[in-house]
């Protein structure tokens, strides 16, 4: 009897990139629902726009690079990038802002570097930083969370959609009526205004740890993150690294000077730290590869977030921290190279 030959091993692969990405997306669903609940339907519009432009950009880039577009589209990585971008931008964001971010993320940050697996920078964060610098005004326009006791003019679905498509509010509504500063902004401007942390925290936008509404999104992000950890889709090293890197200096400074430094809990739940720890920094392509390297990578991100929040001019520093550590990855990989079994310790590859 004749048989077809094939390469070893003769065993089914247990995981696949597309299913990994779908599970990452699934892990984001609870937080997305919370986002819509607290900040209105804008998130859905942003997600749709980001997805359309990310997938379209991916198709275009693959087409220009003369590669089969369906290969890149079937791995769902563009959708993950779009989802992360949707979490990063305010729920009220004009479509061209989101679209610019998505296109830059996919076309420039991902495909100009060689496509999936070759991008040095986290595409979603690169896209976000570009729009943060290009459209600073639009990206500061956060609406207040839907909490019964906050005096706030709610937007209807139609009004939100109109704003997303045209960038303007109904004539009867001014920006001041709908927008609120984010908890981190409030903290930053308050501290700059020489007020103490406890004074600032009396602002109705502040919750138990971070900002109201924000905390809940953080909780759901953490639940999704732990689910990814349990499913072994992400490893613990980066989230732990980010957590330690952020909370260690935050705790020290809080104990040294609680008047001008918010609590570690505020740092954890006040901004995008949890999103970063579980979903952004864990992007394997732009992270360090060895376990030790990932701890260092995560720690660096957490520490930079703390530094930017404390001494930088931006209220949050997740995107900058991630991009800065992306740059450090080749060096981290070099110094954390494991010793090959049977080789001596000098690590130069010779026995």
């Amino acid at each position: 009897m004749e048989f077809a030959r094939r390469q070893s091993p003769y065993w089914s692969a247990r995981v696949a990139v597309p299913s990994l990405m779908l599970q990452v997306l699934a892990a984001l669903v609870p937080a997305a629902i919370a986002h819509v609940w607290f900040f209105g339907p804008g998130f859905i519009f942003n997600l749709l726009i980001a997805s359309i432009f990310a997938v379209g950009g991916e198709w275009l880039a693959m087409h220009v690079r003369k590669r089969p577009p369906e290969v890149a589209l079937s791995d769902y990585t563009a959708l993950v990038t779009a989802a992360l971008l949707a979490f990063a931008v305010p729920s009220l964001t004009p479509w061209w802002v989101t679209a610019t971010g998505a296109l830059f993320a996919i076309v420039v940050a991902k495909h100009l570097y060689g496509g999936l697996g070759f991008n040095i920078f986290n595409p979603a964060m690169a896209g976000y930083v570009v729009i943060l610098i290009a459209f600073p005004m639009h990206l500061n326009l956060w609406i207040a969370p839907r909490m019964g006791d906050i005096d706030y003019q709610y937007l209807t679905v139609l009004q939100t959609l109109t704003y997303t498509l045209t960038g303007s509010l109904p004539d009867t509504l001014g920006f001041d009526a709908v927008s609120r500063a984010t908890p981190l902004d409030v903290m930053k401007s308050g501290l700059n205004g020489m007020r103490t942390v406890s004074e600032i925290r009396t602002n109705p936008i502040m919750g138990d740890f971070g900002g109201r509404g924000w905390e809940w999104i953080g909780n759901f992000l953490a639940i999704g993150g732990f689910w990814l950890l349990i499913k072994k889709i992400i490893r613990w090293h980066i989230p732990v690294g980010v957590g330690v890197g952020l909370l260690l200096p935050a705790t020290i400074m809080y104990f040294v000077d609680p008047g001008s430094h918010p609590s570690p809990g505020f740092h954890l739940f006040g901004g995008a730290a949890i999103l970063c720890a579980f979903f952004v920094a864990t992007d394997p392509v732009s992270a360090a590869t060895s376990p030790k390297g990932r701890l260092i990578f995560g720690f660096g991100i957490g520490f930079l977030i703390f530094c930017i929040r404390t001494w930088g001019s931006y209220a949050d520093g997740v995107a900058f921290a991630v991009l800065l550590m992306n740059m450090a990855v080749p060096a981290i990989d070099l110094v954390t190279r494991p010793r090959i079994v049977g080789h001596s310790n000098d690590g130069d590859g010779t026995p």
């Binding site: 009897m1 048989f3 070893s8 990139v17 590869t289 090959i340 079994v341 080789h343 026995p351």
Partner: protein
């Protein structure tokens, strides 16, 4: 009875794979009847091909040597049954994935008459170790774990090192394969006897019998046999069920907690590893005087109707063995000789069972699918690599054909276990890439050596030409000088000779 121990060194990475061994271990080992024709490849071992010492038309007996080792590394081949040599010709062999290589083909007469040994079989304990090694060499015994390194030469090499421990490898970590497991269950005493012979040959006083924790029956049988033997030098060691703990270097790491240096052998750290099947073969040869003419092999996989372990004569075709077990299932897409991780995929089942054949695996195409995607640097491959390589980096350098980086990142140290392939979410055939890169590096090295030889030849030639030129010049100068010294008289002589010549014309 020695209690199994669990004090083990650390092994990096590895995988817990489903064993799939229950189906083939339900029944005892069954004997495959003598086939009508035996196909005996002359290369069934690492080293040089054995040279046939019989010709077409010769009658041979069971156990008779039909091919003898030639060169420094090799093993003899024995007739597995009695009959007539009908041809020595190319036949598909598993070593070449179903392509042909020279084989001795014997038409069996079915009488299975044994070759009379010369009768000088002293007790092995009275033999000098060197003589015992020569005797083992005559038995055609090679490593039966699959590597088929000639056992006698392995022992001779080991005797040049300071060996402390013999490690019997009963780990058999690849899924589906259970021939060693069954052998340990059924022939534990013979395996231990083989170990004693090997210890005498090596003059060492310590032996670990390493068995995976998922083989309770084998552990029990060995425990009982050890208790009966009452030899304190042998110790049973249980090792965790992690693939690839049965790799020689990995086993040394697990059992002796020593790292085999890169490019070295277990003997460099005082360990000698032998497969349990090899130990049993040594016993069969030294005690029962039966050379290596049969072996136990596992027939398993979804493409097999009745998975089981069989003992078959070396030279029986795979087709005959599978037919004996009950044939192929309705769908049988790939025939693998060896395990599902490192086995070889055959083009035909006409290949004979050889000394290396520890498993015949028939699998379905649906068992492995998935489109290859770009590497996302997830690092799972590095996490499971038992040698702590960075397969994702190696893959990149292999694609770029960057020889220096491939060497620096330890491509040579890759044991080709296939763990990285299995966990890769992008379904990149990493091991196959590394195999190709390895042979490419080898080619480059060969090319370099060839170029170096050519360069040396060229330089030598230039030197020679220069030397000859100098010699010629020196000769010319000498002649000129002598002519000058001879002076006018000589010139007159020459002129005179010329004149004479002119007159004769």
């Amino acid at each position: 009875m020695t209690a199994p121990t669990y004090d083990l060194g650390n092994l990096h990475g590895g995988l817990r794979l489903p064993g799939h061994k229950a189906a083939s271990t339900a029944e005892p080992i069954r004997d495959v009847p003598i086939p009508s024709q035996l196909i005996l490849p002359i290369t069934q071992h690492v080293g040089d091909p054995a040279q046939p010492v019989v010709g077409a038309g010769d009658r041979v007996l069971k156990g008779q040597v039909v091919a003898e080792p030639d060169g420094t590394l090799g093993a003899p081949v024995h007739a597995s049954s009695s009959g007539k040599v009908v041809a020595i010709e190319p036949w598909p062999v598993s070593r070449r994935y179903g392509d042909s290589a020279p084989c001795i083909i014997i038409e069996c007469d079915g009488e299975d008459r044994a070759f009379e040994t010369d009768g000088r079989w002293e007790d092995y304990l009275s033999l000098q170790p060197a003589d015992l090694l020569l005797r083992i060499l005559d038995g055609g015994i090679v490593g039966l774990g699959g590597a088929v390194f000639p056992t006698a030469q392995k022992l001779m090499q080991a005797r040049t090192c300071k060996i402390e421990t013999l490690i019997l490898n009963g780990v058999e970590c690849e899924p589906y394969i259970s021939c060693d497991d069954m052998l340990m269950r059924e022939r534990a005493a013979e395996i231990l006897s083989g170990a004693q012979i090997l210890m005498h040959a090596m003059q060492i006083e310590s032996c670990f019998v390493a068995v995976e924790s998922d083989k309770p029956d084998a552990l029990h049988s060995l425990g009982v046999a050890l208790a009966e033997l009452d030899d304190a030098r042998l110790v049973l060691k249980q090792v965790p069920t992690i693939y690839p703990s049965g790799g020689e270097d990995q086993l040394v790491q697990l059992v002796a907690n020593r790292e085999v240096p890169s490019g070295g052998l277990p003997t460099d750290v005082g360990c000698l590893v032998q497969n349990v099947g090899t130990a049993a073969a040594v016993h069969d040869w030294i005690i029962n005087h039966e050379p290596l003419i049969s072996r136990v092999t596992t027939v398993a996989g979804d493409g097999i109707v009745n998975p089981m372990n069989v003992r078959a004569r070396i030279g029986t075709t795979i087709a005959d063995v599978v037919e004996f077990t009950g044939g192929y299932a309705e769908r049988a897409d790939h025939l693998i000789i060896g395990g599902p991780m490192t086995g070889k995929s055959m083009s035909t089942d006409r290949v004979p069972l050889v000394k290396a054949t520890n498993s015949i695996l028939v699998v379905l195409k649906t068992s492995f699918q998935g489109r290859e995607l770009p590497c996302i640097r997830c690092g799972d491959c590095a996490a499971v690599c038992p040698v702590q390589l960075l397969p994702q980096q190696l893959f990149r350098y292999a694609c770029a054909d960057n020889e220096a980086k491939l060497r620096e990142f330890g491509l040579i140290d890759c044991i080709e276990c296939g763990c990285c392939d299995l966990v890769c979410p992008s379904h990149i055939p990493l091991t196959a890439n590394f195999q190709i890169a390895k042979s490419r590096i080898q080619e480059l090295a060969d090319e370099k050596a060839r170029a170096e030889r050519a360069r040396r030849r060229f330089e030598a030639r230039n030197e020679r030409l220069e030397h000859e030129k100098q010699q010629r010049e020196a000769e010319l100068a000498r002649q000129k000088e002598s002519a000058k010294q001879a002076g006018p008289a000589a010139i007159a002589e020459i002129l005179k000779r010329k004149q004479q010549q002119g007159e004769e014309d």
